[in-house]
């Protein structure tokens, strides 16, 4: 059952990204371009998401456990460490350079099946992104 719900969650997440326009890196970069052709749409995406997630989480967490798992797995750390700030800074630079973050990039891979879309470019980005993640896992000796 949890496999089915993970699949449904991923599908709705991807649909949300496509509908909101965030699968288009130009739209993301234009949000970040305050002094150019600014497109504030991304703020509405995040706002809409938080508008649902914040009360939704609050309601769900009133339960003692999720429907199809034994316990909630919520990050518990409260401290600000170097990894959080340095990692987020690096992520922001890459995000600004290309306009893709992990969700939209994965969602955009199959676009090319349905028209003239940038398949190779998206795939190159995703492979490099996976390599970047593996580098951290090696570095932190997670694997």
């Amino acid at each position: 059952m949890n496999i089915l719900f993970a699949l449904i969650s991923g599908l709705i997440f991807g649909l949300g990204l496509i509908i909101s326009g965030m699968a288009n890196p130009a739209k993301v970069q234009n949000f970040l371009d305050l002094f150019g052709m600014w497109d504030p749409s991304l703020a509405f995406v995040m706002g809409g998401a938080i508008l649902i997630t914040a009360p939704g989480y609050w309601l769900v967490r009133k339960r003692s456990k999720p429907f199809f798992a034994s316990a909630f797995q919520i990050p518990t750390r409260k401290d600000f460490d170097k990894k959080l700030i340095i990692g987020s800074s690096i992520f922001g630079i890459g995000w600004g350079l290309i306009g893709f973050c992990p969700g939209p990039a994965l969602t955009a891979i199959p676009f090319a099946l349905f028209g003239d879309y940038a398949f190779q470019e998206t795939l190159i980005f995703v492979v490099a992104m996976l390599v970047g993640m593996l580098m951290v896992q090696k570095l932190l000796k997670l694997i």
Partner: protein, 147 residues
């Protein structure tokens, strides 16, 4: 490429992302952070058996990949998209996005949506940090170098 300001559909799309995060938490009990889900999927390549964690991550990723076909099936087309064709930029940005989100334990979804929604101070700090470096990066690349 200039893009149209789309407050209504962006809000609706955002609400779907929120709905997905709530369903994921209610059913499986995890935050719907894409970088975390993908990173979990990657660590598991080292394990000998398919854990439940792995299957959940894989199912979520398959769901993401099915979104475009589902959208196309209903709407008949997909939104316009403009991606840089500069290979060096794609590789460099991909490495930075992957490395940074893994080191910082989250991206726009994990910190920006799920983290802020549960009032995590770490996620609020992370979101402010990557927003600022992204604003600066776009400013420099478009108005200093690209001008």
């Amino acid at each position: 490429m200039e893009t149209e300001f789309t407050p209504f559909i962006s809000l609706v799309g955002g609400m779907l992302i929120g709905l997905s995060a709530v369903i994921f938490m209610a059913s499986i009990g995890k935050t719907a952070g894409i970088s975390g889900i993908v990173a979990r999927f990657l660590t598991i390549t080292q394990l000998k058996e398919f854990s439940s964690n792995y299957k959940v991550s894989l199912a979520f990723i398959i769901g993401l990949l099915l979104a475009a076909p589902a959208y196309f099936y209903v709407a008949g087309d997909l939104p316009q998209q403009s991606v840089s064709s500069n290979v060096y930029l794609l590789v460099g940005a991909g490495l930075l996005v992957g490395f940074g989100s893994a080191l910082g334990s989250g991206c726009t979804s994990g910190h920006g949506v799920c983290g802020i929604s549960r009032g995590s101070k770490r996620s609020i700090a992370a979101t402010l940090t990557f927003m600022i470096t992204a604003f600066i990066t776009v400013y420099i690349s478009r108005h200093v170098i690209g001008a």
